[in-house]
């Protein structure tokens, strides 16, 4: 039995997933299983010649899986058997459209096409039945009965025409004739619900008792038994078709089991093996890549550390050279007796970076230069104070404090810084300088001057 993927239309056979779109089709397979079950049930009913029951099951099988061509073909046979050749042809045409190769439907259609007379008869009988139905709906029963009788004579298996004829007879209380039609229908299809209903209805009546209006019919029948020109027994034909179908299905099953399935299994195994091999290779490559990356990271870290160390060392060396250059410069200023520049340069030297020998030179220079620079700065500051250049004076005096001046210079520097602050109206700062002089250098001129200044500021 065929089945197609509802997502992409690819043949899926009995696989749980589609090979084309890789989607899960187990739910489709479940539906197809139901279709199969209905087909087997329909097939059983067909074997027992229960046409109506078979038709119901086969219709369901087709509804659950339209690609179930076996069910569709058998449904066509059921229609054919019950005289509905048009419906049979319709099912076979659909079946052929769905499954183009190895389809019994092709054979059935061909067989019918080879019998044009059969087609004409079927066409006429169906036409007569449809016309009769129309007449009955219009209330014209007599004309309808004529049409139906003609239809039945042309197509004796047309059960619907027989049922309708039986119904007309029942209405006309011609139970004997009705019973004849019903029995014929039940012979063709023992499960026909309409015929069973009519049979039940007619059984209530005493059909053994010939009604007056049936007398004419019965004796004629008793005198000369009306026999159909040719009894068409379709039982063997149906059996032949069913047998052909079973043989075909068995062959397909054998081919599937013996050839296709092992090959497919082998293909799956091969694919699986290849996939596993590829996965292992990939895993190995990933591991190697990981190791390489780790080694590279470690190498880079080591290189980075080395570079950082080299950089730090180079910076240290550069700094040491800079300090030494500054020391040389300071020495040059010292030799030129430019005490302030020499002190400034010395002040900017990082002594910790000097080598032992240079550190000694630095200490000696500092001792030689600082005091002199402080005295020189004090003198400059005092001169500027005298000409009331308080801004520059304060700079010079503050700088003098930095270069470790002698006590005398320090006292004077602090005093004049206080005076500058006073001039600049920074009273608190001025007081700070004066108090410092008074406190740290008592009994000095600067102390008494500072005291006076404080009194003046406090008053």
């Amino acid at each position: 039995m065929e089945g197609r993927c509802p997502y992409c239309g690819e043949l899926i056979y009995e696989r749980p997933y589609c090979l084309n779109c890789k989607r899960d089709v187990r739910w489709v397979q479940k539906i197809y299983t139901i279709s199969k079950a209905y087909f087997y049930k329909g097939y059983q009913e067909a074997e027992n010649h229960h046409l109506t029951s078979a038709e119901i099951y086969l219709k369901k099988a087709v509804y659950y899986n339209k690609y179930n061509s076996a069910a569709r073909n058998l449904l066509g046979l059921i229609y054919y058997e019950s005289g509905k050749i048009s419906l049979a042809l319709k099912e076979w045409i659909i079946s052929e459209a769905i499954l183009k190769e190895d389809n019994f439907a092709t054979h059935y259609i061909k067989q019918i096409q080879e019998q044009p007379k059969l087609l004409v008869t079927a066409k006429d009988s169906i036409h007569l039945y449809n016309k009769a139905l129309l007449y009955l709906q219009q209330g014209n029963e007599d004309v309808a009965i004529i049409r139906l009788k003609k239809a039945v004579s042309l197509n004796p298996n047309l059960v619907e025409a027989r049922n309708l004829l039986a119904l007309c007879y029942i209405k006309g209380k011609q139970f004997f004739k009705a019973n004849e039609q019903i029995k014929e229908v039940l012979r063709i299809d023992p499960t026909n619900p309409k015929a069973l209903t009519y049979y039940k209805e007619v059984s209530k009546e005493d059909i053994e008792k010939i009604m007056p209006y049936e007398i004419e019919y019965v004796p004629r029948q008793s005198k000369k038994q009306v026999q159909p020109a040719k009894i068409i027994n379709r039982g063997p034909t149906l059996a032949k078709y069913v047998a052909n179908f079973i043989v075909g299905a068995l062959c397909m099953f054998c081919v599937q089991t013996a050839l296709i399935l092992p090959n497919e299994i082998q293909n799956y195994k091969s694919d699986l093996f290849k996939a596993k091999e590829a996965e292992e290779k990939l895993e190995k490559l990933l591991q190697e890549e990981k190791l390489m990356n780790e080694e590279m990271i470690a190498q880079l870290k080591a290189d980075n550390e080395k570079i950082m160390k080299e950089k730090a060392s180079a910076e240290l060396n550069a700094s040491k050279i800079a300090q030494k250059t500054k020391l040389t410069e300071a020495n040059q200023y010292y030799l030129e007796k430019d005490w302030i520049k020499a002190a400034d340069t010395l002040y900017n030297i990082a002594a910790s970076l000097l080598e032992e020998e240079d550190a000694l030179i630095y200490a000696n220079l500092k001792q030689e230069v600082y005091e002199r620079a402080a005295s020189k700065l004090y003198e400059e500051g005092y001169s500027q104070y005298r000409i009331k250049d308080f801004v520059n004076s304060r700079v010079s005096l503050e700088k003098a404090l930095v270069y470790e001046p002698t006590e005398a210079v320090l006292r004077k520097t602090l005093y004049y810084l206080g005076c500058i602050e006073k001039e600049n109206a920074n009273i608190e700062k001025a007081k700070y300088y004066f108090e410092k002089v008074v406190k740290e250098y008592p009994q000095t001129n600067e102390s008494s001057w500072s005291s006076n200044q404080l009194n003046a500021l406090n008053s």
């Binding site: 339209k66 066409k123 139905l133 049922n163």
Partner: protein, 52 residues
Amino acid sequence: MIDFKKELERYKSILDVEHIEDKIDREDMKDLIDVLKEFNKAEEKHKFGEDQ
């Protein structure tokens, strides 16, 4: 007793033999999976409409 009129309603005309191929419509080619697919499509469309 059989109600003739009601019983008559149970009978339908049979498809004519001529031009059978023209009378095969989409419904004849539809199965449960097609119905489910259509239902799914309709539901998705409905959801899309709600989202908008």
